[in-house]
């Protein structure tokens, strides 16, 4: 378990001599980190989606998320290694206000999820957007809308055009997908990749600024103005 937490991509475990060690350190120094928060009603499939992206499969048994879970994945975009950190949050209303707050800080993107087979979860998006704005997430932070559970074709309640209209009105990209259907797995990846792409284009993002301090690594963040998204 602990190893997993320390394992920062492939570089970490491999360093067998000091030369390799220093190059891998250098690499990690330059790895940019994108923080993405995933929000939406309980049971829409936030945990499954984030798991599909970071773990590559559909979890056969999920449990209610209590508080906030963290997952990460290293990706490569145009030759640059980027670490995508995904914060998977609890859907139940009582957790939103006081508990999740901390995790909205410094996020680079927000993923709103609804369940295409549950109209209520779509209607509640309004509250989620308010919630997000309430946490002072800047308007320049990209947001995407994800309609999940598209594999349940005969139970769909939220028509695509309705979702599209909503997404347009709120300046979001819309993805309709399924965390469950293996054929859709690329699509799930593309949600996060697209965001990463867009973020990469913003020169702004966090670099690992390493300052040695009592042998410990300290991080600095430098927000900067953004440029266009290639997606």
């Amino acid at each position: 378990m602990a190893n997993e937490a320390h394992g920062r991509g492939e570089g970490a475990g491999l360093a067998s001599n000091s030369l390799e060690l220093s190059t891998s350190l250098e690499r990690s120094v330059q790895t940019r980190i994108f923080k993405i928060i995933v929000i939406g009603d309980s049971n829409v499939g936030k945990t499954c989606l984030t798991f599909r992206f970071t773990g590559g499969s559909f979890p056969d048994k999920t449990e209610a998320t209590i508080g906030v879970d963290f997952r990460e994945k290293a990706v490569e975009i145009e030759g640059e290694r980027i670490k995508v950190q995904v914060w998977d949050t609890a859907g139940q209303e009582r957790f939103r206000k006081s508990m999740v707050e901390h995790y909205y800080r410094n996020v680079h993107a927000v993923v709103f999820v609804y369940d295409v087979t549950k109209m209520v979860s779509f209607e509640n998006l309004k509250t989620w957007i308010q919630e997000c704005n309430g946490h002072r997430v800047s308007a320049s932070v990209p947001r995407v809308l994800v309609g999940n559970k598209c594999d349940l074709v005969d139970q769909i309640q939220v028509p695509s055009n309705m979702a599209l209209k909503f997404a347009d009105a709120h300046n979001m990209l819309l993805f309709e997908t399924s965390a469950k259907d293996p054929k859709e797995s690329q699509n799930v990846d593309s949600i996060f990749m697209c965001l990463a792409c867009r973020l990469k284009a913003q020169k702004s993002l966090i670099y690992w600024n390493v300052e040695r301090e009592d042998g410990k690594v300290r991080l600095n963040q430098e927000p900067d103005p953004k440029t266009n998204c290639p997606c």
Binding site: T62, R94, K97
Partner: protein
């Protein structure tokens, strides 16, 4: 999350760790069983001894014993529980939907070998217990994670006993988590860092620097670790301990886990995400008996009333947990509800008198951390480590904190 080992379920005896020889363990176990039986048969039932047994090494050892002792620890004697359970009105319950979603996803809480049909039956009972308690106590609000606690009681006690005990627990130990908002829960989480600071300022500073927050411990606290431990034997062992103790004991236990992982924490990158990740993954092979004893020690050294001094006093006063005094060990309680209402009245009156508007939210940020107490190790540390947390009661009286162990719930 997905990698959890399947749990072992059953009555299997806890191995009393620290005891090398099988025989020695057996003898010790037999002696403990005899002591428990004697306490149960005493008139009135010797609750103080039962508490000690539940805390001390190995806890209550089997589900059979738990079925007899847990009701006593909560002062819900079997004969006081009606044979017939209340009807449940599922459709008119505001929480039904969420409960259903959570229970349906709680497969991992059931023993792996259990036939589907039996599991599904238990899941129905689980829903009913939860809704029954909620409909009878409209002041209580369901939270995700509550089901992780209730399922433990169901698996150990069966539906009837579980309903009665969960209701008592919900109006006492879990009361703060069941408020309309999680403000009080957040407040209770605020006890975590001060405990860590007093024991290991270096770990504390490092965690503060990383701004890791305390949400990694949220599910530990509000599920009594039921959500995060995959071996059911460990879960029930902890429940023995928590049921015998002050409602804030789970937060002391959380602190003890973090402190136990000191090296890992200090080796971790000083970054919120990495540290949250590290801490929220509980190692499954924790030395539970040692940690329980340590949590007991910390409780004696830094009781909640002391941690709550100063800045957060006002907020602390609004939690149900604060209606329990430190060393009553949760036995001699007035209904927290009643106490809280009285306090509110008094506060209002005071405000009227002073013409001031007391902001109840003020000072919620952190519990006071008097630097002077850093690293001070009381003599009591040695005593309790030696005796184990079981000696709590003994040590208490030695220190002239008056434990009212034999008083019962009103």
């Amino acid at each position: 999350m997905n990698l959890k080992k399947s749990r072992n379920f059953g009555e299997s005896s806890m191995s009393l760790d620290g005891i090398g020889k099988q025989d020695a363990g057996d003898t010790k176990r037999k002696r403990k069983v005899a002591e428990i039986t004697q306490a149960l048969n005493a008139t009135p039932v010797d609750v103080a001894t039962l508490r000690r047994m539940a805390i001390s090494e190995g806890g209550l050892m089997s589900h059979e014993i738990r079925r007899k002792v847990w009701p006593r620890l909560l002062n819900v004697p079997d004969e006081s529980i009606p044979e017939k359970l209340d009807e449940v009105d599922r459709e008119n319950n505001k929480d039904y939907n969420q409960v259903l979603l959570d229970v349906q996803r709680s497969l991992r809480r059931f023993p792996p070998g259990m036939p589907d049909e039996q599991r599904m039956g238990l899941q129905e009972e689980l829903i009913d217990i939860i809704l029954r308690v909620l409909q009878k106590n409209p002041q209580l609000h369901y939270y995700q994670g509550y089901h992780d606690i209730v399922v433990t009681f169901l698996l150990v006690l069966g539906e009837r006993l579980a309903t009665a005990l969960v209701e008592k627990l919900s109006t006492h130990h879990l009361r703060d988590f069941m408020d309309p908002t999680m403000d009080n829960t957040k407040h209770i989480l605020n006890y975590l860092m001060p405990i860590i600071e007093r024991v290991n300022p270096e770990v504390y500073d490092f965690m503060q620097q990383a701004e890791v927050g305390t949400i990694f411990a949220l599910s530990w606290l509000i599920t009594w670790f039921g959500h995060v431990l995959s071996d059911f034997r460990h879960v029930v062992r902890l429940y023995d301990f928590f049921l015998a103790c002050h409602p804030l004991m789970p937060i002391y236990f959380a602190a003890v886990i973090v402190l136990y992982r000191e090296e890992e924490v200090l080796d971790c990158e000083c970054d919120m995400a990495m540290m949250h990740h590290l801490l929220s993954q509980i190692p499954q092979d924790l030395p539970y008996e040692t940690l329980i004893s340590r949590a007991g020690d910390l409780f004696v050294q830094f009781p909640p009333s002391e941690l709550a001094k100063g800045a957060t006093r006002e907020r602390a006063q609004q939690t149900a947990a604060s209606t329990f005094t430190d060393f009553d060990l949760a036995s001699a309680q007035q209904q927290p509800e009643t106490v809280l209402r009285r306090r509110q009245r008094e506060q209002k009156q005071q405000q009227k008198q002073h013409g001031s508007t007391l902001n109840p939210q003020s000072g919620t940020v952190s519990v006071i951390r008097p630097a002077a107490r850093r690293l001070v190790r009381l003599a009591v540390m040695g005593i309790t480590v030696a005796l184990g947390a079981a000696a709590l009661a003994v040590v208490n009286s030695a220190l002239e904190w008056a434990p009212k162990l034999d008083l019962l719930f009103p």
